[in-house]
Subunit: 294 residues, 2 copies
């Protein structure tokens, strides 16, 4: 079998057009485009690179992007005060805290300062709590709306775009981070998959992976998941961003995997481009919800 | 094989002694016993029965229990105001909202009024969110402390009491409710189990159950889980409370299961008695944390 490649760029283009339409409708109604503030502490080159790439993405569809660069040695209290200030600024719809943050900053304190309604990266515990408590799709949610981290939301968007059925299928998620593995597991559960979460302490990982109708690599380990770990015909989502000898590779051994899987996202060009669009979606949603409240 | 019976009453006695000690220490330090307020709306006989049983349990170890009975047709705004009032009352350490609540009450609004620090039933999304984000046991948690629903917390307490190893083992949770299945899955994951969550949409449930080293019935379906669904030697936790011809039975076909499982909780006398003690634990913890803040 040769797997169908799930083209993330194609899905992203389609989704971006929707985001652009909604952002335009917001601007027409409220007289300004939805806007996000990105807080960066210090001069980390990776953070600066990501900031520029976000500025381009948001700018391209006419959304606002406001960088806030703060000194590396900023006092925690001052950083918290800045985030609190952005949290109440009615012109700021979303807030992104760019990683890495310096080690003297306690993230728990910082998250407390972040308005859950502006938490477009879905890092506030209230957002993951609402996701955890939300009823399965198709039923009344029973909770306030939440913002979901863009990477797992992007994975779900790819499944939707390519009409991959989820309900009743066994999804295996390898990785349990707070920004990918755990929210992804909750999203798949909400979509009525049977969900297994694996991690560094999992025994016989290969056998468990082979039970997955939908297999998700979200562990950050280059080519960990081999071809013979995949159930023939399974749908494979690869969230890994690893660099091997300068080459960007996923958590799945892609070449082997294409011989076994039914569908697979490549790295690059799979989940990545959709992640970027889902972040913009979150900003539009945050803007709409907060505008309704005001 | 004949399974070892995990005696919940024995575990509960041991835990109750610890709770009593901590509650006594709180009283010695702050001049009053930790106290919980239970809000009941209307005259549902089940709720009234549960309220009396809680009053006895709390009274027996010298903790405070304050019932608040409100009329069935109370306006939602008034009920919310009552919960807000209890949430700021410094003499109230924990708040229990007794089920059932009448259908005209929106639970989302009610939960919003509940102080997360007093949410001893663990129903506020901030509490399940913190549980979801907490790092695996043994590492710095990285989140504010949370209150976990008493039933799944009780299941974990039984595993601890009987020295059942969890890390690296495959736990299968049948059921995904917000008060048992989902928080239990998150607790097992935090304890480094590989975790699978099954539910009404799961295909081939028997086969998946048979992969569990730890199998948890949390679905509320009398004797759903048969003996031949159990991996030989597995540890079986039964959270089911079902009534068949006046007899209280669990989610597991107990007699068959004892021939296959290595260890099993009976119903009654298994997870139930420990649940009751874990609720008192939550009230003591809530009291301690809030006293430190004040």
């Amino acid at each position: 079998m040769t797997a169908t490649i799930l083209d993330g760029n194609e899905a992203a283009r389609s989704l971006r057009a929707e985001v652009e339409t909604r952002a335009g409708a917001f601007e027409a109604r409220y007289g300004r485009a939805p806007a996000v503030s990105a807080v960066r502490v210090g001069d980390d080159p990776g953070a600066a690179y990501y900031e520029r790439s976000l500025a381009r993405s948001f700018g391209r569809i006419g959304m606002g992007f406001r960088p806030h660069t703060l000194p590396l040695h900023i006092a925690e209290a001052e950083l918290v005060a800045q985030v609190e200030h952005l949290s109440v600024d009615p012109e700021v719809d979303g807030i992104i805290l760019l990683e890495p943050l310096p080690p003297h900053i306690d993230r728990t304190n910082l998250k407390r300062a972040l308005s859950p309604g502006k938490d477009v990266d879905g890092i506030h515990p209230l957002n993951i709590g609402r996701l955890a408590q939300a009823a399965p799709v198709g039923r009344p949610q029973g909770v306030d709306p939440c913002l979901v981290p863009a990477t797992p939301a992007g994975g779900m968007a790819i499944l939707r775009y390519y009409d991959v059925p989820i309900a009743g299928r066994h999804a295996v998620v390898v990785g349990r981070s707070n920004i990918v593995g755990k929210p992804l597991a909750l999203l798949l559960l909400r979509a009525n998959a049977t969900v297994t979460v694996c991690h560094s302490r999992t025994r016989d990982l290969a056998t468990i992976c082979r039970t997955g109708d939908i297999l998700c690599g979200a562990v950050g380990s280059a080519r960990l998941i081999k071809g013979d770990w995949i159930k023939p015909g399974a749908v494979v989502l690869d969230f890994g961003v690893n660099f091997v000898e300068g080459e960007m590779v996923g958590d799945v051994a892609f070449q082997e995997a294409t011989e076994v899987a039914g569908m697979i996202t490549p790295v690059p060009g799979g989940t990545g481009p959709v992640t970027n669009v889902m972040l913009m979606w979150n900003v539009v949603r945050a803007a709409e919800r907060q505008a309704q409240v005001i």
